[in-house]
């Protein structure tokens, strides 16, 4: 297992270099210039423009800019934001926890809802509860999250006054955003669990369990689910990355702190250091999740250990 982890971490490094390189070049190939955008609100003098360009290091050749970025990033220094002039590491440090909190809570919601609904769907295959659940999960996946978020706010904040509509402190303010983000992911998990459970239900050991006289519900929740859980772990793990990105929209609707809002502002303002920093951090998280998912296979299913 140790070898497995080392191998996966080793693969992560070229991935990160690839991501930063593509990002670095793409950002600079897109039309527009950060200094012009920054000065778009003020009639600036050529000296003011030159001063900013020099301060940001934009007067250097792009190759040198990239090497500087990588060199500093290796020392955990992601540079200064063009707009706020704050260190990007500080800015990310302040915003990453609320985003991770939201993404993890949403992943939890989607995993729990997905497992329960998926199993029920499989047990009642082709009967009315299955139909209802399948329609619901399709709806969940199809509804845009900003709309779901607004509906939840209208109902639970403005009408019933159970949860606050905005803010990023405390569990109370996490409930609605986590459900908003988790619901759409839950649809995918539900379908996946349903298929896995149905597949496992057809295996011989299940027939044997039936022959032993166990009740169907016990068979599903005690024996079948454990086998169906592997694809679920994969998809929930991979969804976590997507959920971090999806947090952008949910954070805006619920006025939450987080990387999303910061990134949206930075992209609009061509704030290269912030965009680079945030995407680098998201890429690192993604790679870590992948490693964790791979390792968790080994834990859940001993057969994987020997293959690796």
């Amino acid at each position: 297992m140790g070898f497995l982890i080392i191998k996966r971490v080793g693969l992560g490094i070229p991935t990160l270099i690839g991501v930063t390189l593509v990002l670095f070049i793409t950002l600079r190939m897109l039309p527009g210039d950060p200094v012009s955008v920054l000065l778009a609100g003020a009639p600036a003098t050529p000296q003011a423009e030159a001063t900013l360009r020099q301060q940001f290091g934009l007067d250097q050749p792009i190759g040198l800019q990239y090497l500087n970025f990588i060199g500093h990033a290796a020392g955990l220094d992601l540079g200064l934001s063009y707009t706020t002039r704050q260190p990007v590491t500080t800015m990310i440090g302040q915003q990453i926890l609320p985003t991770l909190e939201l993404a993890l809570a949403a992943a939890f919601v989607s995993a729990v809802l997905g497992m329960v609904l998926g199993s029920l769907s499989a047990i009642y295959r082709n009967r009315w509860p299955d139909a209802v659940i399948r329609v619901l999960s399709l709806l969940n996946t199809s509804m845009p999250s900003f709309w779901v978020g607004l509906l939840l706010i209208m109902m639970f904040s403005f009408t019933l006054k159970i949860f606050p509509a905005t803010g990023s402190s405390g569990v109370q303010s996490l409930v609605l955003p986590a459900f908003t983000l988790g619901l759409s992911a839950a649809g995918t998990v539900t379908r996946l669990v349903r298929n896995s459970v149905i597949e496992v239900l057809g295996e011989n050991f299940v027939t044997a369990l039936h022959a032993k006289g166990l009740r169907p519900r016990v068979i599903v929740f005690k024996h079948v689910l454990r086998n169906a859980v592997i694809p679920t772990v994969t998809i929930v793990g991979l969804q976590l990355g997507a959920l971090i990105a999806g947090a952008v929209i949910v954070e805006a609707v619920f006025a939450r702190q987080g990387l999303g809002q910061m990134l949206v502002q930075a992209i609009a303002g061509k704030d290269y250091p912030v965009v680079q920093g945030v995407v680098l951090v998201i890429a690192v998280i993604y790679i870590v999740i992948n490693i964790v998912v791979d390792v968790s296979y080994a834990v859940i299913d001993p057969r994987v250990r020997t293959v690796a």
Partner: protein
Amino acid sequence: MDSDSSASSRSALHYSAAHHARLPQLARAAFAAVAVLTALVLAACSGGGTSSSPPGNAGSAATSGGSATFAVDTPFVSFDPNVAAAAQDARVMRQIYDSLVALNADRQPVGWLAKSWKVSDDGKTYTFTLRDDVKFQDGSKFDAAAVCFNLNRIVDPKSASIYAVSLIGPYQSCRATNATTAVVKLKTAYAPFLYNLSSPFLGMVSPKSAKSMSLAAFALHPVGSGPFKFSSYTPNDRIVLVKNPDYDWAPSTAKHTGPAHLDKLTFQIIPDATVRIGSLRNGSVQAIGNVPENQAAVIKKDPTLSFYAQAQSGSPFQLNFNTSHAPLNDPAVRKAIREGMDVGSAVKALYFGVYQRAWGPLAPTTAGYDKSLENSFSYDPAAAKKALDDLGWKVGPNGIRQKDGKQLTLTYVEGAPNREKRQDIAQFMKDNLKAIGVNVNVVLQQSAPLQTTLQNGDYDIAGLSLVSVDPNVLYSLYSPEFIPKPGRSGFDFTHADDKQLSSEILKAQQESDPASRDKLYQQVQQQVVDQALSVGIYVPTYTVATSGITGLRFDAEGYPVLYDVSLTKS
């Protein structure tokens, strides 16, 4: 955040999630990172900066104490007035910093931190006599040295000031002759200087605090001499201010003296307009900015809510005609195009009466505004068609006019996201002009690529509005030195290079007599309209709705002032 882009970012996320399981890990991670980035780029559509505002009623028996929350739509960038440039930051800075002067209802400077001032005959030397009873929030004393410190900090290249540096124009030097006398020298006469000093961007920062902190630290721990002092800041969430109990130097434009009524004032960022309105109605916030126009009527009718629409001073939203190349280098064509634009109907249909129609290059709340330009031309498609016919632009077989084998096609550039429905204006004008045989290509671009298009001059029509406390905004709009060039931005989108026009603007800039200055600016406005360089569309207006508070007013630039605000007894 608009619905279209949110939807597309979602589909991008699902696309990536669905494909992961089958890809090898390296490709998976790389693909995911790219997908995440794509999704975020697609989602990059939050509202842009906004503008300014009008009058509120002061409560006669203001209650003291309590706290209020003002919800704004855009995250803050920096609270250092010497460096910052964003309107959303100015709304907070106005509460923390005092300026040397304030502008009264007639837009004339009155004393604030400066008691009085003298301007030399050549207009180059300003001698300010300062109040001697003012303390910054860190306890240090405000004096002439502090004034000089502020001005010198603005021009210091290390500060890399974006906006304040443009407000003090030809600033040369500042000398404190004694504790209460500051002598400021300019390189050339510059009448806007005194008016600009009223701006929150020229609010006085405490030298003691600014020196003791790095630039980055001060930007998030502002210290001024204003009625509210900084308490805490949570990025992307809120800034909390508390009452400055020592405050006793409000300008005469305020409705009361002494400390502010509120004990605590919070600015909370709530990007979504529906959530802002809901939070106002359920009492979790007391004021919201940027009320959607289509909600204004409902809010105005609600007896529990107050609605404010403060027209922004400076230059309204105008469509500028690029006069540097055919076909709009011909004033007769420009006039015909203007006659074919039904501006009045467009503004009425899109802004529900909240925004007023603009007529010239200055907004009505700006000093020197020429009211005689209102209704000085009209929408007349028949006359427009005839004028184009007479100019040799005949309708071709496809319904589009042509002359010498060239079609009458105009490129109209507009920014994305759709700030203040400007994209809808573009669509409206396209349809108007199609009806008179003019083909319009509307090109929508994000702000960064748009800057490049403008710099390259690849357009016929481009819109712009600018906030400014002084009519000198016309200098940036119609002077050849501000014509955009590759690698260099500028606001003269019309490419106007007219000696008479630019010399009048320069004369006005140096004219110290307000009446003569106004006259010069009126001539400039008339010329812009006569030559049809730009077409005024609407006056950008900062809207605020409040509940449970009274006493909100707006400064000359249209930023809300919360000093007089108090909670209403319920």
